[in-house]
């Protein structure tokens, strides 16, 4: 029954479906991310609320707050895809059976689905609770989506790096923060402009930065992941 290796896209789909099935049964990552996001959101809306911020500063402050909520929410759950494999001692079984790039892509797909769901819940809720009504709503959501795409790709690669380390919980945000900082700053800046600027002249530069970041981290992930996974 010897044969050539299976196409890695098909393997990535198998890994994604396995992880999705596993997550639907345990709900560990989704529960931790959603709970963190909702609690933080409630805390922000209760302590700061929509009226304590001067209207002129509202777009910048609320955009930064939104990114902080999404960043820390993602830190609580995105590392699970690899940490769980190491802790449950299934990582070696998977290493022997799957193409490394397929593993990266499969895990990334699950994290993207998770963050898409979290963003779809958190952003509208944040807008309602903080009375944050961006001027360019489509651009605002588009920038949020691109920001989360970059954050998820980079976080997935970092999750693989930290999965074998001793103090995984603390290491993940420490390692992620400097790598994600340029992305978070660019996204928050673009969000505040989408919320307040009268025109869309900022979009070209914002799209350039966000798409480049996602593209570079994605291809870097595909190239570097095998070294990380087999280390």
């Amino acid at each position: 029954m010897a044969r050539a290796s299976t196409p890695w896209l098909s393997e990535a789909a198998a890994i994604f479906l396995k992880d999705l099935r596993s997550e639907l049964r345990t709900k560990v990552a989704v529960n931790s991310i959603v709970l963190f996001a909702v609690i933080t959101l409630a805390l922000v809306s209760y302590t700061i609320g929509p009226y304590r911020i001067p209207p002129a500063e509202k777009p910048a402050i609320l955009s930064a707050l939104l990114m902080i909520i999404l960043f820390f929410a993602s830190m609580t759950g995105l590392s699970r895809v690899f940490v769980k494999e190491e802790e449950a001692r299934t990582a070696d079984t998977l290493r022997l059976a799957a193409d490394p790039q397929a593993v990266f892509l499969g895990k990334l797909l699950l994290n993207l689905l998770t963050m898409a769901g979290v963003t779809a819940v958190v952003v509208p809720l944040f807008s309602i609770l903080m009375e944050f009504h961006p001027m360019h709503i489509c651009s605002f959501y588009g920038i949020t989506a691109l920001g989360m795409l970059g954050l998820t790709i980079a976080s997935t690669l970092i999750a693989a790096i930290i999965s074998k380390a001793g103090n995984k919980g603390a290491l993940f945000p420490i390692l992620a923060f400097p790598i994600l900082l340029p992305l978070l700053l660019a996204t928050a800046d673009a969000l505040s402009k989408a919320a307040a600027w009268p025109d869309l002249s900022f979009m070209g530069q914002a799209l350039g930065i966000l798409v480049s970041y996602s593209g570079i981290t994605f291809f870097a992930g595909l190239i570097l992941f095998e070294k990380v996974w087999r280390a």
Partner: protein, 205 residues
């Protein structure tokens, strides 16, 4: 004719050398018993052969006839069952086999998975999550996951762990069938498994 050639492999944990210049060859029809006291490096040797540990020196070649199997193709041809490797607890027995079969065969392997579960007396339990199975059932399932793609090379590390007499019969049948397909490396200190071996490689402390 498949062969596993281990050529001058050494390994150390930090400054403590564990394996030094290990050399052997096993071929189709052979079950090479790897024996040695606890801590002599049996499991480490199998992990080095499988490529799960970085080999600082020496090399391991997997050969089909005179052709060396490229590293990228190895996962479709190599099977391994070891104590420190687990299956997915939250998935059912059948889902685990289908997952590993799909990764290695590329397509649906439901027929083979069901047949293997039947051979291991696990068919009635195929829809149960792995976490609900007994340790012996889990061990048999791990063995099935290692051979679901009918590999040309098989590595077994203490495969009889937690198996009862009927489980040992199943293991004997599996090893007997596998050695016709390719070489089997079997690391063990369990006298119940010594009978499977056709040759022996002894490690010392």
């Amino acid at each position: 004719m498949n062969r596993i050639a281990v050529e001058g492999v050494s390994y150390a944990y930090g400054r403590h050398p564990l394996l030094q210049d290990v050399r052997f060859e096993a071929r189709t029809g052979e079950v090479l018993l790897v024996r040695g006291p606890n801590g002599s490096g049996k499991s480490t040797l199998l992990r080095l052969v499988a490529g799960l540990l970085h080999r600082p020196s020496g090399r391991v070649r997997f050969l089909e006839g005179d052709r060396e199997v490229p590293e990228g193709d190895l996962r479709a041809r190599l099977g391994m069952c070891a104590v420190e490797q687990n299956l997915y607890d939250e998935l059912t027995a059948l889902e685990n086999l289908l997952f590993f079969g799909r990764l290695r065969l590329g397509g649906d392997c439901a027929g083979r998975a069901e047949a293997l579960l039947g051979r291991a007396d696990l068919h009635p339990h195929r829809h149960k999550p792995v976490r609900s199975l007994s340790s012996g059932m889990r061990q048999k399932l791990k063995l099935l996951a290692a051979v679901v793609h009918a590999p040309g090379f098989l590595l077994l590390d203490e495969p009889g762990s937690n198996l009862d007499a009927r489980g040992m019969e199943f293991l004997a049948g599996l090893v007997e069938e596998q050695k016709d397909r390719g070489p089997v490396l079997l690391a063990t200190n369990d006298p119940r498994e010594f009978g499977h071996g056709t040759r022996e490689y002894a490690l010392a402390l």
